[in-house]
């Protein structure tokens, strides 16, 4: 897997400022760290999950776009796989929005930030999409996606309050849904232990099939399920950007439409899947 870097990304952290010693940009992302992470996740992406894309050309080559995905598996592998895939195949950096919880964890929070993670705040998303014209990856289900049990696999949860639609409207960028199958089976959640989650201050504490099969190793090691990703047609909203507010009914309607399309794509992909492990 060739690792392509755009020259623009590599120099942007410096900003012509020769006092700088690192390439960490204003979001905490470092292209050097990303390159290192891609080198590690390359084999995982290509050999373990054997990720296969469909419709990757629908991801815009320039300008901001909000990538929306379904979120699944106790430690959701969809986020790193989508980021790795788009960065290697298209050569564009992806900023992944996630709960600010990550920031509070020592070491992990810093690594997450250096690897392109950004706290999911409307201001952050707007700046990335509108001011900088970046690709931003978000999972509107939030923690509800990874914490659902295997019995509810591929059943999309509520899409928050539709905030992602509002941000895309305000920033004047398209929403690009990406349906992923296989991530549910990489780390299936059998049951939740909310008492442990609150005691350890974790977003959720699941008992996974991986833990039963692999023991303590299963806390981190995913099953090698075949992952298939399908990029759906970008959705643009014919509303003027930069409005103070947008009609809530319109926002919810569009949010629901994205959710339905993503759900339909998931069902279609599952109907065509012959094997969990070989696709």
């Amino acid at each position: 897997m060739p690792i392509r870097l755009t020259a623009q990304v590599a120099t942007e952290g410096a900003g012509g400022d020769d006092a700088r010693r690192s390439d960490v940009d204003g979001w905490g992302r470092s292209e050097r760290v990303r390159t290192f992470v891609r080198r590690l996740s390359g084999p995982l992406y290509a050999r373990w999950f054997r990720a296969e894309w469909e419709g990757l050309e629908k991801v815009p080559e320039t300008g901001g776009a909000l990538l929306i995905g379904n979120h699944a598996g106790a430690i959701p592998m969809d986020a790193p796989v989508i980021m790795h895939g788009i960065e290697t195949e298209l050569g564009r950096p992806v900023y992944g929005l996630a709960d600010y919880f990550f920031r509070t964890v020592p070491v992990l929070g810093t690594l997450w930030s250096r690897a392109g993670g950004v706290p999911a705040r409307p201001d952050n998303a707007y700046r990335l999409l509108h001011d900088e014209g970046r690709l931003v990856l978000a999972f509107p289900e939030g923690i509800k996606g990874p914490s659902k049990t295997y019995a509810e696999r591929y059943q999309l949860r509520r899409f928050g309050r539709g905030g992602f639609v509002e941000i895309a409207m305000r920033a004047g960028v398209p929403v690009v849904p990406i349906a992923t199958i296989g991530s549910e089976e990489t780390m299936p959640v059998l049951l939740q232990v909310p008492q442990l989650a609150s005691a350890l201050r974790l977003p959720h504490f699941p008992i996974t099939a991986n833990m039963l099969v692999m023991g303590p190793l299963g806390i981190l090691v995913p099953f090698p399920a075949k992952m298939r990703l399908r990029v759906l047609d970008p959705i643009t909203f014919d509303v003027p950007p930069d409005q103070e507010r947008y009609r809530k009914s319109r926002v919810m309607e569009e949010s629901e439409r994205v959710r339905e399309r993503l759900q339909a794509a998931l069902y279609d992909m599952l109907a065509n899947r012959r094997s969990i492990w070989f696709g």
């Binding site: 900003g15 400022d17 006092a19 010693r21 690192s22 204003g26 020592p106 201001d123």
Partner: protein
Amino acid sequence: MARSLGRRVLVTGADTFWGGRVVQALDGAAGIEFVLGLGTSEPTVRFERAEFVHADQTYSILHRLVGATQVDTVVHTFMIVDSTSAGSGAMHEVNVIGTMNLLAAAGASDSTVRHLVVKSSGLVYGSSERDPATFAEDTPRSRTPRTAVERSLVEAESLVQDFVEENPGTTVTILRFANVLGADISTPITKNLSRPICPSVFGFDPLVQFVEEGDVVRALEFVTRRRLRGTYNVSGPGPLPWSEVAAICGTRLLPLPPMRPRLALAPLVRLGVFDLPPELEALLRYGRGMDTSRLLGAGFDYRFTSAGAVQEFARSWRLRKGAGRARERYVYEHDVEQFFRHSPAVARPPDR
């Protein structure tokens, strides 16, 4: 009385680092008729023509002062932002009560004040895990302030906002400064960075921004001259990680346990080696980004970016270590100053 000579400026906190330098910057400048410095102790820098009044910021004194001098511009620099330099009670007195008295005097019915500049701090945004990466001037803070210095600054700013509503005829400028670095200023951050090792919180490497001390004075002078209205962030552009700040300064990071970093550092703080007030601990976890576009859009140009400010600080620090303290210290002598200002024996250039 002739009012066409220029602006009549009152600078509060003229005995402090910032006030003194603002007086120097405005003193004798074109378009400024006179500068009056107000301070609670003797000034620490030399004033050429500016007058200095030794008084505290009680309402009756300020009211009489504004009335007698007919100032049209007030530059309020007397705000404590370094919580290691004063107790929480003193901070409340200076930041909240002092500001309240000043605003009352400036808003009195017979007041001639038409422009008020307030030196505030990025501390009003706080530092929390829920923060956006960048604070614009209208971004609210994520959590209610927990430290005394943040509480007093937030309260002082809200008093200023009330003043804005009650006095639409007065132009009010609030400047929120990022952490300041420079050769002359001493803050907990400059203290920590000038040691061979420098505290950090283990596992955290936040993005921080700085403004160089010269840019602080230039920004205060800029908004005073331009009569800009509204709130402006003042910070060198381009945030950088704390580890990089330490690297530029040539100091190694001392990682403190993330659970109680202040407790772990307490002995060294007690010995005067480091300073780690609670607001700095929060900054070393979550950092703070400030949007600089509004002041840049108004035409201000920074001499230093954030990284540039760090480098300049490191340079001046190395120079000081290498060459010793060469800077001459100024001692205020009341009688001498009075002689130079008022005695007929002093020859004055004709244009003055």
